[in-house]
Subunit: 231 residues, 2 copies
């Protein structure tokens, strides 16, 4: 059955404008068709379409909310967008399928891309959430400077994955369970030495991904999978 993202008040779900258009124009749903709704904050609903137009669709709630169990960790991935945008988009889709809570894009000294359209990223996120049958929508933040993200986060543990030779924890050894974790993944040309120093001063721990040298987007995904597997 098709899943749509909606705002639910009392016994009525109102699909977002994007979802209404998709429901009416692409899937050609009609009043009376059964659908599933998610509200993005963990709730699933069974519903039946009442009003169907390409601007606005509403549905009557038949049952729910059924609450999706929350993950036992909170993962915030802050990553430098790759030069080829499809690489980062692909990563976002996979990260959402596997499980992620918050995504930030960071502007670093060696960044080869300094602009990202979060509207487009949000569409990928929404599509992956529905496809993988989840009910929580990960938060997507606008691009921030490296300096700002380092200074601002309140995560319980903060990690930085850099390629300089130094003592590092293997990410497999990190305990993600029941914690909020922020991890910084650098651009193709790595973080600058100054950026790494700034992070370490701000109590970030350096982590590695083992022997193989991973691309930026592979590293991002590797963290999501590691947290998922070890929690």
């Amino acid at each position: 059955m098709n899943i749509f993202i909606a705002t639910v008040v009392d016994k009525t779900g109102t699909l977002t404008s994007e979802e209404s258009w998709h429901c009416a124009k692409v899937l050609r749903k009609k009043a009376g068709d059964p659908i599933q709704l998610i509200d993005g904050t963990g709730n699933f609903y069974e519903a039946i379409l009442e009003l169907v137009s390409d601007k606005k669709c509403t549905a009557k709630i038949l049952s729910g909310p059924l609450l999706q169990q929350k993950r036992n960790y909170y993962l915030h991935l802050a990553i430098a967008p790759t030069k080829q945008i499809d690489r980062i988009e692909w990563m976002i889709e996979k990260a959402v399928e596997i499980g992620i809570d918050e995504i930030s894009f960071i502007n670093c000294h060696n960044s080869e891309r300094t602009v990202i359209k979060t509207e487009r990223i949000n569409k990928i996120v929404e599509s992956a959430v529905k496809q993988s049958m989840q009910a929580y929508l990960p938060k997507v933040n606008e691009l921030v400077s490296f300096k700002d993200i380092v200074a601002s986060s309140n995560a319980e543990q903060k990690l930085i994955a850099h390629c300089f030779d130094s003592e590092k924890e293997n990410v497999k050894q990190v305990d993600f369970k029941n914690k909020t974790t922020l991890i910084l993944i650098g651009p193709e040309g790595d973080f600058s030495k100054e950026e790494v120093e700034l992070a370490l001063k701000n109590k970030y721990r350096a982590v590695s991904f083992g022997e193989n040298r991973l691309r930026t987007e592979t590293a991002g995904l590797y963290v999501c999978q590691t947290a998922s597997i070890l929690s």
Copy 2:
């Protein structure tokens, strides 16, 4: 330093024809330039280019072989190619970066793609091996029927990831360490009931990836990552 794939005999490495072309025409290397070689079976060499032409390049070995440590598991992923070829190609690149030993493509009842160019896949594999600085080349097999792969494998443990409701092990519980494992990942429309039954009859164990419904290519990658983290 640039890494190339070569056959090494005595103190001379001969680059493959593809690599020779890349070395001479794309990277415009000259005789006397230092390069790194891998032979695909685990050995790294430091070398210096002697003969450079777009048909054939040779290099004098300066040091090596330096043997890359083998993984402590052998993973054979047999996957149904996705309808959109770029999805499976992405997955192959990432699987190689993270670690995989053998890749097969399977033709299933619900397959939406029944042809795959392994020559193209091999190029992706070679590029990812070099990019991630590994010295082992994973084996890539031609497309086979589901029936043939089920009947033919000698892997110590054999797994099938299907979406039917049944008792399944979570892939996190599988012990990959010091074992050869073959895992079958089905097409977008899942395996057929008959295929699952045939696999179970042949001592395959059913595995799941947890609650989220993963796309074919995400599932393939998730297995590589799980084996990498848990071994």
